[in-house]
């Protein structure tokens, strides 16, 4: 058996059904034997598309997403995607070809130090020197990608390892200290009971749930019921969207820079913050010294290094969110009503005015309509920028793993390939991509895949003709010095859709156009919906970078202008 055949066997053994990739020089031996395998290969148009697609596949399914690329530029093109997956703890396995072993270190054609470059943006990586090691390495790579806090793993394979003949295939073996290292920690009972006491004694408790909670599909029911039964409000981070359904009466929405006023006010005024599966990113905490100043913070995380990294906790619990929520549901006995606290949150959140007054279609209104059209299983994927924050504020998928977005790295161009990956993993579900004209043009080439694989993805292009989030900052913080944000001479989107063999339409007038949108979202075909919006539309509420979460900008009550709450 050849090394290349052995690799595919190992991947099959891990349950891999789909890989995303592009062939090239040193991986031709791998692609040469691909048809002997049951694995379906999706040819993307750029390696960055392949890795984001694998990421979208992983995030939406919980399974490992796999991508292939060649050495050199193929490998470097993966790096943005690996960093994206790393920041958001997504289990991706990337397999890169490498020059033959004897050429390593000689600056050979299409040689880069792939493992060296990817070291800081992967959970681990491997350079395979002997095809006999492939079973061990592949098994370990998948184990590392999924166990503990998930993350991307890269396997770099020289061309002559693909062509090496393997006589006897070893049984895969994972190093014992690796198993030990990633083993799920048991929740310390003494610490748990201390936390329980703090929560019980709290008069103003709040739960903050992050991406770590989104990982386990069983968490939603546990958290939702716990919150309703004990009247404890739940706020989420961007990565935590979907951990509680939006119709939960105690759901406050997203916290942070563009968080809801109620979530941010509750964080700043609670006396106990139960934070589960969050890493206290600066977009969440804003000015960290002023974050949740009155709260005893109970931090639950599976990654010990997250405890006390950005925010010092009063009690820290090392463990899996599902184990924790199960234990909490069993042991917690509510002793009092939180009605007064909940009323306080409502009263003090200010009357945020989201009646939209922009010219033409309002992006917020369009996304509200999209939200109304979601079914129980719809997956919403976003790119990065204003549309992403509007989506976070107005689009609320029902289930976990159904709001897919590049939160940590903020990678423009993530959306389209991630939506492709999500649709591939969930062929029966409705996938909606909410993107912007800046982001979409960063991986536009992947549009070809919609037609090729009949992927009925609905692309809602919030088109304001500018790099909107940069424009918003330049308007608010840089004295309206609009520098290099104009996306003039972008393509005619309807013609472009047509060129790629999919349906395209433009919406620009309020009212009737929203009816068209309903029809499109019900269609069985891919659509590119060009939604023309005012470039002056801004995302509010907004906490300026560096301010505390108490300082929230927006329009309140009947005010004509933006001002700060409180």
């Amino acid at each position: 058996m050849l090394g290349s055949e052995l690799l595919l066997k190992c991947l099959e053994k891990q349950g891999v059904e789909i890989v995303f990739g592009i062939p090239g020089g040193v991986v031709i031996p791998l692609y040469d034997v691909l048809k002997k395998s049951k694995i379906k290969h999706i040819l993307t148009r750029h390696e960055q598309g392949a890795v984001h697609a694998a990421d979208g596949y992983a995030r939406s399914s919980g399974k490992v997403g796999v991508c292939f690329s060649t050495s050199g530029p193929g490998a470097t093109n993966l790096m943005t995607g690996l960093a994206t997956a790393y920041m958001d703890s997504s289990p991706v396995v990337a397999i890169t070809g490498q020059v033959v072993k004897s050429f390593l270190g000689k600056d050979s054609f299409q040689e880069v130090d792939t493992t060296g470059i990817s070291m800081q943006i992967t959970k681990h990586n491997f350079l395979v020197k002997d095809a006999n090691d492939l079973p061990d390495i592949v098994a370990e790579a998948f184990f590392i990608a999924t166990e503990g806090r998930p993350g991307p793993v890269l396997i770099d394979i020289p061309k002559d390892v693909f062509t090496q003949v393997v006589d006897k295939v070893r049984e895969p073996k994972i190093r014992s200290h690796v198993i030990e290292k990633l083993r799920k920690p048991n929740i310390d009972e003494i610490v748990f009971h201390k936390a329980l006491e703090v929560l019980k004694n709290a008069r103003k408790p709040i739960i903050l749930a992050g991406g770590g909670v989104n990982r386990h599909p069983g968490n939603q029911e546990l958290l939702n019921q716990f919150s309703i039964k004990n009247e404890i409000p739940v706020a989420v981070t961007l990565m935590g969207k979907g951990v509680v359904p939006a119709h939960n009466p105690f759901y406050l929405g997203m916290v942070g820079m563009h968080g809801t006023t109620s979530a941010n006010w509750a964080i700043q005024n609670c006396d106990c913050l139960l934070a589960i599966g969050v890493r206290f990113d600066d977009r969440v905490t804003s000015k960290v010294e002023a974050f949740a100043p009155k709260a005893k913070i109970i931090h639950v995380d599976i990654d010990a290094a997250e405890i006390n990294k950005n925010v010092t906790s009063f009690i820290s619990i090392l463990g899996d969110s599902y184990d924790f929520l199960k234990l909490l549901s069993q042991k917690y006995q509510s002793t009092k009503s939180n009605k007064e606290w909940i009323n306080q949150i409502k009263l003090n959140s200010g009357e945020f005015d989201d009646s939209f007054s922009q010219i033409g279609l309002n992006p917020q209104e369009v996304l509200e309509t999209v939200n109304e059209l979601l079914d129980e299983d719809t997956i919403a994927v976003t790119d990065v920028g204003q549309h992403q924050m509007w989506a976070a504020l107005y689009v609320h998928p029902y289930k976990p793993r159904c709001f897919i977005t590049s939160g940590g790295l903020g990678t423009m161009g993530f959306g389209l390939p991630a939506a492709i990956g999500a649709q591939m993993a969930n062929p029966a579900k409705k996938v909606i991509l909410i993107t912007g004209d800046g982001s979409l043009q960063m991986n536009l080439q992947e549009l070809a895949l919609l037609r090729k694989w009949n992927l009925p993805i609905k692309i809602i292009l919030i088109n304001n003709g500018v790099l909107g989030m940069v424009r918003q900052w330049q308007e608010l913080f840089y004295q309206e010095n609009y520098s290099e944000i104009d996306l003039a001479a972008s393509p005619d989107w309807e013609v472009l859709a047509q060129a790629y063999g999919i349906n395209g339409t433009t919406l620009s007038t309020p009212g009737e156009d929203l009816i068209t949108l309903r029809n499109i979202l019900d269609s069985k075909f891919p659509w590119l919906v060009n939604v023309k919006v005012d470039k002056g539309a801004k995302v509010f509420p907004m906490v300026p970078a560096g301010s505390s979460l108490d300082e929230i900008w927006g329009r309140w009550g009947n005010e004509a202008h933006v001002s700060s709450l409180g």
Binding site: Q120, K123, L127, K181, A305, I307, N308
Partner: protein, 161 residues
């Protein structure tokens, strides 16, 4: 404050770069790093002296533990441990000073390992304080060349685990 960490790692290429990359990426200060094979040839031992407050050391330890190739991290700072550095120093020495230097080095139990007409090479081991004291005592004679290792550390017998 300085902390001495004993880090057992897999003995294969790239591990040093993972560890040093972690320190530079997260902005931790390495005072010294010594690495060599252990009694088990598949395992290397890194002795890392790192400076920082309690929170930083906690982060360093946790981040090191996250590296897949790291087997075990032990903080030897507050433990009963033997700490040693190795010093080689070439000091100016002629007929008038040679005797004095040898006498001085006797006090520190340092050894003369080479003698030239105008200089001599001295070898010494000891903890950081002792090595600093030796260097200071030799400075008046004129240090021509100096090389020393970082700290190596090991728990004392009564603390064996």
């Amino acid at each position: 404050m300085k902390h001495t960490l004993a880090v057992l790692v897999e003995n294969h290429p790239g591990v040093l770069s993972r560890v040093s990359g972690l320190f530079s990426r997260r902005g931790y200060n390495i005072e010294s790093l010594v690495v060599s094979e252990t009694e088990d040839s598949s395992v290397s031992r890194m002795t890392i002296v790192v400076s920082g407050d309690k929170a930083i050391i906690e982060q360093v330890t946790k981040q090191l533990n996250k590296l897949i190739d790291v087997i075990k991290v032990t903080d030897l700072t507050n433990e009963e441990a033997v700490n040693r550095q190795l010093l080689l120093v070439r000091v100016a020495a002629d007929n008038t000073t040679r005797g004095e230097i040898v006498q001085l080095m006797d006090i520190f139990r340092a050894r003369v390992v080479d003698i030239g007409r105008r200089s001599m090479v001295i070898e010494a081991t000891g903890d950081e304080k002792k090595i600093q004291a030796i260097i200071k005592s030799l400075q008046p004679f004129g240090i021509q060349e100096l090389a020393k290792t970082g700290t190596l550390a090991m728990l004392r017998g009564s603390k064996e685990k």
